[in-house]
């Protein structure tokens, strides 16, 4: 039941990406190309995606978080980190370069699975490889030297 619900929630997320045009890397790159403002080539649409999404979550999260617990869970899992460490700058800096190179962030990469052909699969494979690499590296960093797994 809960798994079906999560499928439906993911479906709505994906529909949002496609309806918004965010699933199209050409649109994303034209949004990021602010130097084209003068020539009329800039596509400001994606600013409206963020505005629409945040308008809903800004109010919606506050209403939901008034509850003591989620409908199908014991507690809310909200990020607890507050410190501005090097990772919160380095990670997004690297992410942004990749996003600007291809126009894909993780959600649109997923919606392209069945529609983007081989190029989309290549990006997805590389993305999951990058994710795996970051998880391994993060685990090494956190784990004390004594309990590090052998390489």
């Amino acid at each position: 039941m809960i798994v079906l619900l999560q499928f439906a929630i993911g479906l709505v997320f994906g529909l949002g990406l496609v309806v918004a045009g965010m699933s199209d890397p050409a649109k994303v790159l034209n949004f990021l190309d602010i130097a084209a403002i003068g020539s009329g080539g800039w596509d400001a649409s994606l600013a409206f995606v963020m505005a629409g999404a945040i308008a809903v979550t800004f109010i919606g999260f506050r209403l939901v978080l008034r509850r003591d617990q989620p409908i199908f869970g014991e507690r809310f899992h909200l990020p607890t980190a507050r410190d501005l460490d090097s990772r919160i700058v380095a990670g997004p800096a690297i992410f942004g370069v990749g996003w600007g190179l291809a126009g894909f962030c993780p959600g649109p990469a997923l919606t392209a699975t069945l529609t983007g052909g081989a190029p989309a699969w290549l990006f997805l494979a590389a993305m999951f490889a990058g994710m795996a690499g970051a998880r391994v590296l993060a685990a090494r960093q956190v784990a004390p030297a004594a309990v590090r797994p052998p390489i």
Partner: protein, 142 residues
């Protein structure tokens, strides 16, 4: 580059759907709708029993274009301009950077900003800046 239309109404509507999905996930499971976090945790090691739910969410995102195709009669095909080596490099950077920075456009850019998280504000400002700089370099300098 491919010319695109300015589509504010569609963009706003899609954004509302994304926001509604994030609120629904928070209400149902108590979790942030961060695509990179959900996708990355499909890979081992598994630290909780949420795998099936995450897989279901991801499959929902994956089949969404088919639903759009059924309703509108035309498949929404992504226009990918990047070459093969650039796609491979971009994928690595996006995957690594999203996990290293604990989030991407959805987790930081939507969920985090609406929670007024300072970490997400920093993350969003940084990835917007490097993405804009990258497009500037590749389109107008190199």
């Amino acid at each position: 580059m491919v010319a695109t239309e300015f589509t504010p109404v569609a963009a706003l509507s899609g954004g509302v759907l994304i926001g509604a999905s994030a609120v629904a996930l928070m209400a149902a499971t108590g979790r942030i709708a961060g695509i990179s976090g959900i996708a990355a945790r499909l890979l081992p090691p598994y630290d909780d029993d949420g795998f099936a739910g995450r897989l279901a969410f991801v499959l929902g995102v994956v089949v969404a274009p088919l639903i759009v195709a059924l309703v509108t009669g035309s498949m929404p095909v992504p226009r990918i301009e990047a070459t093969t080596p650039v796609l491979a490099l971009a994928g690595l950077l996006v995957g690594f950077g999203a996990v290293w920075g604990n989030g991407c456009t959805s987790g930081h850019g939507v969920c985090g900003l609406s929670r007024l998280s300072m970490r997400s504000l920093v993350a969003t400002a940084v990835f917007m800046a490097t993405a804009i700089a990258t497009v500037f370099l590749t389109r107008h300098v190199l």
